[in-house]
């Protein structure tokens, strides 16, 4: 069981070091899809490896060790992907960057010009959502697919739980 935890720890540190020392310099790893797959494939791979270990081992500690490893991997990947995505750009960061780049106060009206960020994001996101099979083009309009309707229902449930009417 200790060997499972040790191998998992070495693997996790290696996964991060390979990114920091090599992969982050590659243009492909500046794309959201690639960076997501780097973590998703790792998580699925670790889960598959642990499933094999579980099926072969009679040690009763292997099961909680596997759960511990997967939970830590999930936290590492979620934190990494959130920071990557947040620092890539968005309204809040664009506002802070623009305002912080000037010495004094900034006219709010000049910051409202950042709406072009949203227009660019929206057109990119429409294509991403279509690639994921959540929406589809119908003539001049977009509509939800059946998978998209399920996702929208999940969104509504979470919105209701946190008492948040959808806003931008």
């Amino acid at each position: 069981m200790n060997s499972v935890l040790a191998i998992a720890a070495i693997y996790g540190v290696g996964h991060l070091l390979v990114y920091v020392s090599v992969l982050r310099r590659l243009p492909a790893f500046r794309r959201e899809r690639v960076i997501f797959l780097y973590h998703a494939i790792s998580f699925v791979g670790v889960a598959a490896a642990l499933a094999v270990v579980l099926s072969l081992s009679v040690d009763r500690d292997v099961r909680p060790a596997a759960a511990l490893v997967l939970a830590v991997h999930a936290m590492y990947s979620l934190t990494f992907l959130e920071l990557w995505s947040l620092s890539e750009g968005g309204y809040s960061l664009a506002i802070l960057r623009r305002a912080a780049s000037r010495p004094g106060a900034v006219e709010v009206s000049s910051l409202l010009g950042l709406e072009t960020v949203g227009l660019r994001k929206r057109s990119v996101r429409l294509q991403h959502l279509a690639d994921l099979g959540l929406i589809e083009r119908l003539g001049a309009t977009w509509r939800l697919t059946s998978r998209g309707r399920a996702a929208a229902a999940a969104v509504k449930t979470v919105s209701w739980l946190v008492g948040a009417p959808r806003c931008g």
Binding site: M1, V20, R24, F29, R30, P64, A67, L68, A71, V72, A74, M75, T79, W84, S87, E88, G89, Y91, I95, L96, R97, A99, A100, A105, V106, E107, V108, S109, L111, L112, E115, T116, V117, G118, L119, R122, S123, R125, L126, L129, L134, I135, A140, T141, W142, R143, L144, G148, A152, V155, K156, V158, S159, L161, V162, G163, A164, R166, C167, G168
Partner: protein
Amino acid sequence: MASALLALASAVILHACLVRVAGSLNKVVAFLATGGLVGLALVVYEIAWSAHTTLESLAALAVYAAACELYIFAFTLVVSSVSVAVLTALAGGPLSEDALEHHDSSRAMVETRLERLAMAGCVDLRDGVCLVTPRGRALAGAFERLRRTFGHAP
């Protein structure tokens, strides 16, 4: 693992109650409070009452922490993501790109972000001008370093 899942359900329900009672409270802060409290209860349970081994208890706590992070990720995404805004807009029926823009305007999104940054103490909004606070400058600096680390375009 049952104790971790039960703890998560408790944290989610407590959070749902808290944000309804204290509507002005930041939702992430509210979840950190309820999730932290439930997490503490889970630690006490695992140490004092459960028959779990140390490893089983550690696994339960790690699963609970990961599930909480996933939940925070999910609801912050629901509240602020452009993609989610598109999905919810289309839930009412097919829309053109122009209608999507009208439904959830980019200008309104910028205004909402400005208000949130002001509430978080990162900017001061007064008389039509925006002044970045020291906290905001520190945050902007931290994200600039992250941008360079991740190799994002300047």
